[in-house]
């Protein structure tokens, strides 16, 4: 976990520690009894209570709810999901064994990884390039307008983004319409299973690449201009300055975001794909998340879907930890400190 140094040293004890004189005469702080500290900080504890309750109910209880993956969960056995879990029979690792032989599961995994790789190669570099590009404009007005425009799509819902794409690239969309007007054949990007993964990535770029720029722009602005000036004095031209000063300055941020990206490798575009899967069919579009949704929520195979979810979660966690380890080996900080 990332706990900053400020957390480590308790810098403001709310009441001064009781001082007693030890034999040597040096002041020794004795601990205030827990009972008193609880009383002292009761307002603060009260303030965190609602959030902790919400986390308990909607993060920790569901975590325990994963036991249905080891059961033959039957929602109709009782009126209430909790009672149903209590009464459903145990089956051990049966669902996990079934998953290994499940062609659809492997197909979903393949699609997930393929989309992740596209995201990594096509999506990931775009915000960095955009940030360098915007940073090269010196007029504040130009930068502000460019940023305002680029940030905007991040706040659109996926329904809206997918709809916009359909209106532009769909069979009845603007491009097909223009092509037909000029006597060409129309085309439909939205229903082409072969191009689906690229469509997904393209939509991600349109929606979120601009938003990703913020972090890189901040990192660029934090570079001391003295470095640029000094290297310019030493005769470095603008490209050498970019290579030796700008890019190294971005390195830690790039490493951090790369780790986060790899950690999310198994979670790619859930909502986005869910909205479009009927148009191209599950063969091309099914990823692990949509598979869980399809098997569990729409077809009622709760136990099997939960088993898939657990496998996905465990491998996701291992990916974060592994990627973070690599970041540490490269001398970067990663998500949490060592």
């Amino acid at each position: 976990m990332s706990l900053s140094t400020e957390d480590r040293r308790a810098r403001e004890p709310r009441t001064p520690p009781v001082e007693t004189r030890a034999a040597g005469g040096a002041p020794v702080a004795t601990k205030v009894p827990l009972r008193h500290r609880l009383r002292r900080d009761r307002t603060l504890l009260l303030m965190t209570l609602p959030a902790m309750l919400l986390l308990l109910v909607f993060a920790y209880v569901p975590l325990a709810g994963n036991v249905v993956a080891f059961q033959d969960y039957d929602p109709y056995i009782a009126d209430n999901a909790f009672q149903a879990i209590a009464q459903s029979p145990w089956v051990g690792f049966e669902w996990f064994q079934q998953m290994v032989n499940d062609r659809l599961f492997w197909s979903a995994l393949r699609n997930t990884l393929a989309i992740f790789l596209l995201q990594l190669t096509l999506f990931f570099p775009v915000p960095i390039l955009l940030a360098l590009f915007i940073n090269s404009f010196v007029r504040p007005r130009v930068r502000a307008v460019a940023q305002a425009v680029l940030y905007l799509p991040h706040f659109f819902s996926w329904v809206l983004v997918v709809t916009v794409f359909q209106q532009m690239f769909g069979g009845a969309g603007l491009i097909a319409q223009t092509l037909r007007e000029h006597g060409h054949e129309g085309f439909d990007l939205m229903t082409d299973p072969g191009l689906f993964k690229f469509l997904i990535t393209f939509e991600m770029i349109w929606k979120d690449a601009g938003w990703g720029v913020i972090v890189f722009l901040a990192a660029l602005a934090a570079v001391s201009p003295d470095l640029y000036e000094a290297s310019a004095m030493d005769g470095a031209n603008r490209w050498r300055r970019m290579w030796h000063i700008t890019l190294p300055a971005l390195r830690p941020v790039v490493a951090l975001l790369l780790v986060l990206q790899v950690g999310n490798a198994l979670t790619v575009g859930f909502e986005q794909i869910l909205l479009q899967r009927t148009a191209v069919g599950p063969g091309a579009s099914e990823v692990l998340d949509t598979y869980v949704w399809n098997v569990g929520i729409t077809n009622g195979g709760f136990s099997y879907a939960a088993a898939v979810g657990i496998v996905k979660g465990v491998f996701g966690l291992l990916l974060v930890l592994g990627a973070n380890k690599v970041a540490h080996l490269m001398g970067e900080q990663g998500v949490y400190k060592k």
Binding site: S2, S4, A10, E12, P13, R14, L34, L38, D41, L44, L45, M47, T48, P50, A51, M52, A64, G65, N66, V68, N80, A81, F82, F133, S136, F137, Q147, V149, L150, L152, F155, F156, S157, V159, L160, T163, V164, Q167, M168, Q177, E181, W206, G210, A218, A221, P225, D226, Y228, E229, A232, M233, N237, R238, L256, V292, A305, G309, G313, L317, V335
Partner: protein
């Protein structure tokens, strides 16, 4: 702390009001021009689709027929589509539902998040570390869709607006950003207020929150956009079509190409273009976000950066 982030660090005004450091090479005219063209193209890639959507929603049946579909160049603005949509019926109801869920949800999320962030911001306090770890741990595991669904169902929240708010009410990342800002409040101010007899609620309300206005604005926007854009929870927890929020109705009307109930007659008589209706629904979904985010934009950097450093 953030003075270096204004994007102008070390830039001295040169000749003719240019903000270029004196030692930097003057860019060539062609270089500048081509850069400008690229920037305009990038911005157009974002704005052009929105323009088309807005213009089509404001077009009459005739204009849309003449254009053969989507309209690029506006001719004769008409608000028929909006009048039909907002004159009662499915879309009107969905818009009201979305607005209510967004307002109530954002207020709830902000109240809980701010209190939690403040409660965890005093690093000397008892149980501060275990509670922080309890919260941070949820960032590393997601419980998964199925058990979450079962818990929401078990609590009896299905077909209730609470299912649209409670499961997604908290974002740990947002709480961390708020907490980081609260921790940067001068401790002397807090101590002196305490000596003057202020309790924690009063300190939070009268000292810490006014000093953190910028970041509170950013986080409020994040939560509000989250509630406004959400459609998935409604799609699995709400079965009554009368209770669906705007995003879900937009999904049905535009992506699934269903006809809005109650408007079939106006469409069949040629009074109304189904395309204009679809585009108008999109504009309805777009308006609040497009209007709110520019006001908060100048603070994004602070919020995002704190998150990146602390997260």
């Amino acid at each position: 702390m953030l003075s270096g982030l204004t994007g102008l660090a070390g830039v001295k005004p040169g000749t003719r009001g240019r903000l270029r450091p004196v030692w930097e090479e003057e860019p060539s005219r062609t270089g500048l021009a081509s850069k400008g063209v690229v920037l305009v193209l990038i911005c157009l890639a974002v704005l052009f689709p929105l323009w088309v959507v807005i213009v089509t929603s404001l077009s009459s049946v005739r204009t849309i027929t003449e254009a053969g579909g989507l309209v690029v160049i506006p001719r004769g603005v008409t608000f028929v589509a909006y009048q039909e949509l907002l004159g009662g019926g499915q879309v009107t109801r969905a818009t009201v539902i979305s607005l209510c869920v967004t307002v109530v949800g954002t207020l709830f999320s902000m109240t809980v998040s701010i209190m939690c962030a403040y409660g965890l911001s005093r690093t000397g306090s008892v149980l501060h570390r275990p509670l922080l770890v309890f919260m941070l741990a949820t960032m590393f595991f997601g419980a998964g869709l199925i058990p979450t669904y079962l818990v929401v169902q078990g609590l009896g929240l299905t077909d209730s607006y609470l299912a649209l708010i409670l499961p997604s009410a908290l974002n740990v990342f947002n709480i961390l950003v708020l907490r980081a800002f609260f921790m940067s409040t001068a401790q002397e101010l807090i101590e002196s207020a305490r000596i003057d007899g202020a309790g924690d609620f009063r300190i939070l309300w009268q000292i810490v929150m006014p000093l953190s206005r910028a970041v509170i604005a950013v986080i409020t926007l994040f939560y509000a956009v989250g509630y406004w854009s959400a459609w998935f929870n409604a799609s699995i927890y709400i079965s009554d079509p009368q209770m669906l929020p705007l995003q879900n109705v937009m999904n049905q009307l535009v992506l699934k190409q269903e006809r809005p109930t109650g408007l079939a007659q106006a469409i069949n008589t040629g009074h109304l273009s189904p395309l204009a209706i679809q585009m108008a629904v999109m504009v309805l979904a777009l308006i609040p976000v497009a209007f709110l985010s520019p006001f908060v934009q100048k603070h994004f950097k602070e919020g995002m950066l704190t998150g990146a450093v602390k997260g």
